[in-house]
Symmetry: C2
Subunit: 230 residues, 2 copies
């Protein structure tokens, strides 16, 4: 009775590839907007900011959706990648913590356009309740369980201060959420089987700072070398 999906090769896509599929998807949408119907791996790779060997290798994990000598059909490949990621279905999402960042996330159009539907905004602060944000009213955090159950929410977004994040994650997991996107600058501990992805704004800046510093140091050394040879 075991009904396998039509494409067994779809299993076990390397993480590095998974992380790039959304980038390819966006590049394909840009091409489609410009009414380009076909593209080569070279063209798509350039639009996505990667090299074409990597692109072809990545796509080879999904299946064989191109035509040798011709390239890829933009719309067909777009659909296949969307299906692979799971964007052909609707993903109900809750956002907890409606401060500045929560506002920004609730209003972010990139979510809705990719099939993510914000079903609720939650905040522990009663002062925020019934405020409307992005057309959705802010509800008490204690409504989490009922909202998750009623809407079959699988993805939770944490946009609270760091000290509240672990509690929120615990409650989310208890309510049945298995995937968490964490914007709070803290390490969450969750049971096996729960996925956490972290976006940390200040860490990105710190990585940049490291490289700025290195560039400055390299420039100094170079100046010294010139001085030496003079």
């Amino acid at each position: 009775m075991t009904a396998r999906t039509s494409n067994d090769s779809a299993r076990d896509i390397p993480e590095a590839t998974v992380a790039r599929l959304p980038v390819y998807l966006r590049a394909l949408m840009t091409l489609a907007e410009r009414e380009i119907e076909t593209c080569s791996s070279e063209e798509l790779a350039s639009a996505a900011g990667v090299n074409s060997a990597k692109l072809r290798k990545d796509l080879s994990h999904l299946g064989s959706y191109g035509t040798r000598g011709v390239g890829y059909d933009v719309e067909y490949l777009r659909y296949q990648i969307a299906r692979e990621i799971g964007l052909t279905q609707d993903w109900p999402v809750v956002i907890v913590g409606i401060g500045n960042l929560g506002h920004a996330l609730a209003n972010y159009s990139g979510f809705r356009s990719r099939g993510f539907r914000v079903v609720a905004l939650l905040d522990a602060d009663p002062g925020r309740h019934d405020e409307m944000v992005a057309g959705i009213d802010v509800r008490p955090f204690d409504d989490l369980e009922s909202i998750v159950a009623e809407n079959d929410v699988a993805i939770g977004v944490i946009a609270t201060p760091a000290n509240a994040a672990q509690d929120v994650a615990d409650r989310m997991v208890a309510a049945g959420i298995t995937s968490v996107l964490n914007f709070a600058p803290t390490v969450l501990s969750v049971p096996e089987g729960v996925d956490v992805r972290k976006v940390d704004l200040s860490i990105e800046l710190q990585i940049l700072a490291y490289h700025v510093q290195r560039k400055a140091a390299a420039a100094l050394v170079e100046a010294d070398v010139e001085e030496d040879s003079a």
Copy 2:
């Protein structure tokens, strides 16, 4: 005459390690807050959410800052990592695009506390000028060049819509900025030597969606197997 810095081993830290240094830094700050003065690689690794072998390997690229049989001095290691990343100095930053996300970024306390100083908020929309955000007034985008020059800005943050981002990046580069943190959902092309890091909110959600879908598919297969064996 070439004056090398005291620690030549500080050069050529692997990218993967650089990306984790800020995580260690944050973990050390948490330990320091709890007035813990010494920690083992095991304890620090656990606080940072990595395994201890990786932590020790990472730290070994910076130098030898621990004591065998004892562990690491929290404050000393914190300082060494901060120095390595370049956080012992002040980094002037400009933010362009003061929509929801720009607001959130301008108000984000994690920047200031790590030595990033927002010297200006810029927006092309005259309707937003002279509005105060996070105690800084919003200025015209055309002030970019003079602000960069006056404040020695090396890092620019782009929080504009996608269609404006490339223009903003071009102007930033022309003004002398060599490191860009891009929140706009688009691939930027910049000259060699300019660093771009990208934070894409919807891509993170899409990666999560892929894993949710996989978990659901795996659960189905398992149910089928049980049915078969029944």
